[in-house]
């Protein structure tokens, strides 16, 4: 590295991590007039933002934590506001569409399991209400003519949708630049130290002094959080993705595992493996993903695969997001989730406001990491 000259800078608030979570939050902070510094890694990093599936997805979220269902629904409902704000700011159209999405089932057993999961989800106390439909093969076929005979049925939710997540990533960074966010790539963080009235952040690049701090460093939050009295026990969960060559539009709704992007490529995804930091693409997994996609939509069989890749989701022990402010170091916040696209609208439009106010509202209390050490607190 060439950075042997130490850099010292100051800012009102630092966001550590320039992925979708960090940049959505930083954009939200900057839109409210804050002076924001974003410290990010470089070209090669464990970037969940480059591997995500680009869904704005509501159905099936929140079993075990109804507050998450409500938070997700709220984000889905304000996603068009985010899309418009980004277009106004940057001229970039992030291809946001929420035409409703399907979960397709390929066997009676899958269908039954899905229906049960939906019932359990919606029977929870304090569960937010939203519509969904259980459809048989014929009704699914009427709405999605391209499905194959192996599709037993589906669950449809009108709130679901998708965006062009790579364009979202670029739009957020472009918007940050417009709003004079001080974005520093190749700036890994080694240590954070509370200092009177703020924090000192150190890395090989030098030191930054800030008043407030948001940890949005994905998997690295696990290491950084304890430095400021926070707890973010996140672990990698590997997901493999297939993307095909561009095809003329044929699929006008997203499925949870198959979607056609606005640019024409078809993405196939949603494998889940706990293999630590391994990111190798494995033929048996992508083969099964391909097989299921072809059973869902037989016309896909002839499409050429252009790329496969894998990325690491940022998973908390219960799979739900963590939003917290440090009790021992007020002003230090942690933000972590594996739905950086769905929740981007909340992060920009809602969360950033609370962070600036310095208080996370009661509605976000359920997301505190205190839920992971109930026994020790008791």
């Amino acid at each position: 590295m060439t950075q042997n000259i130490e850099t010292h800078f100051e800012s009102e608030i630092a966001v550590i991590g320039g992925g979708l979570v960090g940049s959505a939050t930083a954009y939200g902070l900057a839109r409210r007039g804050a002076r924001v510094l974003v410290l990010d890694e470089g070209d090669i990093a464990y970037r969940a933002s480059r591997g995500n599936f680009a869904l704005v997805w509501v159905q099936s979220k929140g079993l075990g934590m109804p507050e998450y269902a409500a938070w997700t629904k709220a984000s889905a409902e304000q996603w068009s506001t985010l899309a418009k704000s980004l277009r106004d700011e940057t001229d970039i159209d992030v291809a946001h569409h929420q035409p409703g999405g399907f979960v397709l089932c390929l066997s009676e057993a899958e269908m039954e399991a899905r229906i049960n999961a939906m019932r359990r989800l919606h029977n929870q106390p304090k569960m937010v209400q939203y519509p969904y439909e259980i459809l048989d093969h014929n009704e699914t076929k009427r709405r999605l003519p391209a499905i194959g005979s192996d599709v037993v049925g589906s669950v449809f939710c009108p709130l679901d949708g998708h965006v062009n997540s790579l364009r979202l990533f670029r739009a957020l960074h472009t918007a940050m630049a417009r709003l004079k966010v001080d974005y520093r790539p190749n700036s890994p963080v080694e240590s954070i130290r509370p200092d009177h009235d703020g924090f000192l952040i150190n890395g090989p690049w030098g030191q930054a002094r800030v008043q407030k701090l948001v940890l949005a460093a994905g998997l690295d939050n696990a290491r950084l959080a304890p430095m400021v009295g926070l707890h973010a026990p996140v672990r990698p969960s590997k997901g493999q993705v297939i993307v095909t060559e561009k095809a003329a539009p044929f699929l006008h709704h997203p499925m949870v595992t198959v979607r056609q992007t606005d640019e024409g490529g078809v993405m196939i995804g949603d494998s889940q493996e706990d293999l630590d930091f391994d990111t190798v693409v494995t033929p048996p997994v992508i083969s099964l993903m391909a097989q299921r996609a072809v059973r869902m939509f037989p016309l896909l069989a002839g499409l050429n695969v252009v790329r496969t890749w894998s990325a690491l989701r940022v998973m908390s022990p219960d799979g739900f997001p963590i939003y917290d402010q440090s009790q021992s170091c007020p002003g230090a916040f942690v933000v972590t989730c594996h739905s950086g696209v769905t929740l981007a609208a909340n992060h920009t439009l809602t969360l950033a406001h609370h962070i600036l106010e310095g208080v996370l509202p009661a509605s976000l209390e359920a997301f505190s990491s205190r839920r992971f050490h109930v026994s020790s607190a008791a």
Partner: protein, 486 residues
């Protein structure tokens, strides 16, 4: 040699699997078979030869002098391959190479994804040699995507395989020994070239002269002089060309260029571009081989040991894919790589291997003499590697321009992988083959850092097209079912 044309006929496992039937691959296959190794040679073309000897068994261009003696030297390599016990799979692609899944008897094995005629299969190999050769360096000038603009190598392939020559007002442009060779071949075949635009930077001569003594003793000298003198006869050559653009709406109509302080525009029906060749490292990159930036050849080159084994155990690269050396060098390196593989497989003692390789290495030394002079002399100018004009397309597949790339560097994007996410460059079907080097160099230039600090695209399989249907038919594992059918 046994030829196989369907996936079902392939064995479960080969001792030695070679990818690419150019000079390095053909010799490696013959050398592997000669040691008694079960050897499979896979190639995507219908006939052996690679690009340099493309169509050597099938070309309709009968007059030997048209393609020249160097081309016909490939015949011996084909004969050696044909006489060997190697298995040859033409019209077959390799779309992935990775470690064999756990549970196989021999943990060092590699798993190779192959596809023939629309059917894919995973087979295994104890050693793999990639002989994936070279491709022409990207030549991103304004208008290079217009129909009528092709690589000179592309025109040469049309000549070799089909006896086709460019017609109408033909302009060749660029630099390097191959440009002169291709031009001579096309002219010998009867094509009329209106003008050659030589982009070799004039200042390169001063730098190259330091390496001239080796060159003067090399076989390149005689060949080069003959080509240069031949080119001067009956064709206009413009030297010191510093800018070129192809113009037209749906087809190239004219070529505009600058030399010295002069601008010229000439009508043009076919524009052939060439500025040297670079290793085709897509497979090596996807396999995870460590790559180094070669500042002379301005390209990524895989790290290899004395036997061309890469940083990935059991995976070697022979020929131009491991660094440009030309056809003769490629054949010699194919032999050395196969001897190395034979030793790793326990077929040859270290002593045997070294003894057999010694004369090959001596010959390789001779064949490589003068190479450095050519590398330095024909190092392409910055203006033809990093487009100055903002509207020049860099990524042909996703139509990403130089200006857009520079604008995005300014956002804080420091390398090609984040660039891919932001602009989709390198995400099209060519998988960055035609833009990778340009994107790396452009980012490095814009940031004012060397290309090593910027890095290159990280690639993942499939490195050749495979359909979802083919992929879907591959075997599954319990772990895969657990990962997907949750």
């Amino acid at each position: 040699m046994k030829t196989i044309k369907d996936v079902a006929s392939l064995s479960e496992c080969y001792d030695l699997l070679i990818i690419g039937a150019g000079p390095a691959g053909m010799v490696a296959a013959a050398t592997g078979a000669e040691q008694g190794l079960s050897t499979l040679l896979i190639d995507e073309n219908p006939a052996p030869g690679g690009q340099i000897y493309r169509g050597i068994t099938t070309t309709p261009v009968a007059a030997k002098e048209t393609l020249g003696a160097d081309y016909w030297r490939g015949t011996d390599l084909v004969h050696a391959l044909t006489a060997s016990d190697a298995v040859y799979a033409p019209e077959t692609t390799v779309w992935s190479v990775g470690p064999a899944a756990e549970g196989t008897s021999d943990p060092g094995r590699m798993e190779v994804g192959v596809s023939v005629g629309g059917a894919a299969r995973l087979i295994q190999a104890r050693q793999v040699i990639a002989a994936t050769g070279a491709l022409e360096r990207p030549f991103p000038i304004p208008g290079w995507t217009l129909p009528g603009v092709m690589t000179a190598g592309g025109a040469q392939i049309a000549l070799k395989t089909s006896g086709l020559v460019p017609d109408g007002r033909v302009v060749v442009a660029g630099s390097g020994p191959l440009l002169y060779l291709l031009t001579a071949q096309l002219r010998a075949a009867g094509a009329t070239i209106s003008v050659m635009l030589d982009t070799t930077p004039l200042e390169n001569w001063g730098r190259a002269i330091r390496h001239a003594s080796d060159f003067l003793r090399s076989p390149y000298l005689g060949k080069g002089l003959k080509l240069l003198l031949g080119a001067e006869r009956g064709m206009r050559i413009v030297r010191g060309v510093t800018a070129i653009s192809a113009n037209g709406d749906s087809q190239v109509k004219s070529v505009r260029f600058r030399h010295g302080s002069k601008e010229e525009e000439l009508p043009c029906d076919v524009l052939l571009l060439h500025q040297g060749v670079v290793p085709n490292i897509n497979l090596a990159n996807a396999v995870g081989c460590a790559l180094d930036w070669d500042e002379d050849q301005l390209t990524w080159v895989p790290q290899t040991d004395d036997w061309y084994e890469t940083s990935v155990k059991g995976f070697a690269i022979a020929g131009d894919g491991a660094g440009i050396g030309g056809a003769e060098s490629a054949a010699l390196r194919g032999r050395i790589a196969a001897l190395g593989a034979g030793h790793r497989l326990g077929r040859l003692s270290a002593n045997d291997r070294d003894q057999r390789a010694a004369p090959v290495r001596a010959e390789l030394m001779r064949a490589s003499r003068g190479r450095r002079f050519l590398d330095v002399l024909y190092r392409p100018a910055k203006a033809f590697r990093i487009p100055k004009a903002d509207d020049t397309i860099v990524c042909r597949c996703e139509e990403v321009t130089a200006g857009k790339l520079r604008e995005t560097v300014a956002l804080g994007v420091t390398g090609p992988n984040q660039m891919k996410s932001f602009l989709r460059c390198g995400m099209g079907p060519c998988q960055g083959r035609l833009c990778g080097l340009t994107v790396t160099e452009l980012i490095a230039d814009a940031r004012g850092v060397p290309p090593t600090e910027v890095g290159g695209y990280r690639l993942r399989p499939p490195i050749k097209p495979i359909t979802l249907g083919e992929l879907a038919a591959l075997p599954k594992t319990p772990a895969a079912i657990k990962a997907v059918e949750r």
